[in-house]
């Protein structure tokens, strides 16, 4: 394993060729490591405690999602999308359903559109709340912040379970709508949760905003210029934390987002502190969207009655559809050859592309900052490696 033998497909040697100097220390961070970002490895070269070089090693969770999807029907891939970014399955469902609908030209009924917005924004709440817990864990506050975060996450998961039957792997959206209608009283439960979420955010912000350790660990850490971020294809909260106004819900509206009144929070410097705070501001905006969507929720079918489940064959062609996932631009590129299976199925994962600039963010900083920066990128390895 240590030597880079030519026959090995794990051609990532423990000791990379890099700056060849006896005074440098080479550390392999991962794939098993104490932070909660999955099996991601970084080969770091340190001068004292300063990072001189950092090479990411991917592929420890490469489970062949795209290849498997090319061998099964369109609908069979829906449960696999749940397992892409496993903290927010429902937005993945939406992105995939959106791509197939674009390919096949399906219409989505009003009620299903609202339902999708509600579920996607609840998922955003889950993701950003868990993010806040995880990044504090990376800074050494393992436990307390995550405990609060997961307390709230469980409340949302209970709602998901009522609606879809599963806590995490919902497999809920269908081409042309959603799988089933709301159970009785579900919408009222969601609006109660939305009302209670504001006070929770206040509590969490009180814990974080003025915290001296958090400020010392995150301010001025890991910022990059707007140009670098845009050129690197970075999207989502990471890009907006640097002050670039780019949110797909606004620039390329999908679903019914243009009907809602919400703002896009922007950061100033793009350091780790901004990245944490922007997520809190986004959660407040999500709550606004949820309130509006729940108030306007119309009656009607949740799935287009003409949508076919069996023998579904979209016409020959290709489509790319993207949504603003909680982590950034989540896109699906599908090529159809007119059969029941996609000819090509390609995912544009936000975590993976956001991670590509990790070396630029870490150079010249301490090793301890690397973990915080990795946390602030907010990756999920299911999506990075697919």
């Amino acid at each position: 394993m240590i030597s880079a033998s030519s026959k090995s497909f794990d051609a990532a040697p423990m000791i990379e060729s890099g700056p060849d100097d006896d005074s440098l220390l080479r550390v392999s961070l991962g794939p098993q490591h104490p932070s909660t970002h999955g099996v991601f490895r970084m080969n770091v070269v340190l001068d004292g405690e300063t990072v001189v070089s950092l090479k990411p090693v991917f592929g420890y969770l490469h489970r062949n999602h795209e290849k498997i999807a090319e061998g099964i029907t369109y609908l069979s891939s829906m449960p696999y999308t749940d397992r892409l970014d496993y903290i927010c399955p429902l937005s993945n469902n939406w992105a995939y359903a959106h791509a197939v609908e674009k390919l096949a030209g399906l219409e989505v009924p009003e009620r299903a559109q609202y339902l999708r917005v509600i579920l996607a924004e609840l998922t955003r709440l889950i993701n950003h709340t868990a993010f806040a817990g995880f990044i504090l864990g990376d800074m050494g506050a393992w436990g307390s912040a995550l405990m609060y975060a997961f307390r709230e996450r469980e409340l949302i998961l209970d709602l998901f379970e009522d609606l879809t039957g599963a806590r995490m792997m919902a497999n809920f959206m269908r081409f042309g709508g959603c799988r089933n209608d709301l159970p009785d009283g579900w919408a009222a439960q969601v609006s109660r949760l939305v009302d209670d979420y504001g006070p929770f955010l206040d509590e969490m912000e009180k814990l974080l905003v003025g915290n001296e350790i958090l400020l010392a660990r995150t301010q001025g850490i890991g910022s990059l210029s707007k140009e670098t971020l845009v050129n690197g294809g970075i999207s989502g909260p990471m890009l907006r934390a640097a002050g670039v106004n780019y949110d797909i819900r606004k620039v390329d509206p999908y679903g019914i987002y243009e009907r809602f009144d919400f703002r896009i929070p922007l950061g100033a410097t793009g350091d780790c502190y901004d990245r944490i705070m922007i997520r809190f501001l986004e959660m407040r905006e999500s709550l606004k969207i949820l309130q509006q969507a729940l108030a306007q929720l119309p009656e009607g079918p949740v799935i287009d009655p003409k949508a076919r489940i069996r023998n579904f064959k979209p016409p020959v062609g290709e489509s790319y559809a993207r949504i603003e996932g909680p982590k950034g631009e989540l896109g699906f590129h599908l090529i159809s050859d007119g059969t029941t299976k996609p000819y090509r199925y390609r995912i544009r994962p936000p975590s993976f592309i956001n991670l590509t600039l990790i070396e630029d963010m870490c150079l010249g900083l301490d090793l301890a900052d690397v973990v915080v920066i990795l946390g602030s990128v907010d990756i999920v390895l299911g999506e990075v490696d697919r």
Partner: protein, 211 residues
């Protein structure tokens, strides 16, 4: 060795608790399992959820997640093991100190689960390390993980430390480390450890051929 229950009750009434070393040691081991803090995929999120506010694994003495395998005695294989990851999982298992136990959490760790047909997915971690408890589900609910933990505790409580049926870790000739597979040109080499993995024979009925 069983203790005479009459004697035990009699002594208990006098405020004396009689037990055997075996029971005492097993009680201690089963009551403070320290899991390795090591998540692979989706199941890891449910594993974290099991330790958090609502499910609170601390009730069963297993909340002390250790980042280092040297300090851990329970490995929860939570998620898909890929062929690139399998050597690291086996190495982590080898680094753990005895006595050590393995829970295979979720369909992927048991058999490859929904990703079984993937070219890079290991079809069950039991091909390389001995698994004590399997928890089906994709992902299993936190309650299922707690149930698996309780099952493991019951198994530990019944362990024999002496005699011919003693536990693997109590056997001086038993092995604590298993060969780490290497990543070969097409697959792991070897593809499984036949000393611990005994798959059921595949029986196929072929026309004209007697089984």
């Amino acid at each position: 060795m069983e203790i005479d229950s009459m004697l035990e009750d009699d002594m208990k009434s006098q405020g004396v608790h009689v037990t055997s070393f075996e029971q005492l040691i097993n009680w201690g081991r089963s009551s403070s399992l320290w899991p390795l803090q090591f998540g692979l995929a989706c199941c890891a999120i449910e594993m974290i959820a099991a330790t958090m506010a609502k499910y609170d694994m601390a009730r069963f003495g297993a909340e002390v997640f250790r980042p280092s395998p040297r300090q851990a005695d329970l490995m929860i294989v939570a998620g898909t093991v890929t062929k690139k990851m399998a050597p690291q999982v086996v190495r982590l298992y080898n680094q753990m100190a005895e006595p050590k136990y393995v829970i295979a959490m979720g369909a992927c760790a048991i058999s490859g689960g929904p990703f079984k047909e993937g070219y890079n997915v290991l079809k069950g971690i039991d091909r390389f390390i001995p698994v004590d408890v399997v928890i089906p589900g994709c992902p299993p609910r936190p309650e299922a993980l707690l149930d698996g933990l309780l099952t493991l505790r019951a198994q530990i409580a019944k362990e024999k430390l002496m005699g011919s049926h003693r536990a693997r870790h109590a056997d001086p000739l038993g092995t604590a480390a298993f060969p780490v597979p290497e990543c070969g040109a097409h697959d792991l080499e070897p593809t499984s450890n036949r000393e611990i993995w005994h798959p059921l024979p595949v029986l196929r009925e072929v026309e004209g051929v007697e089984a």
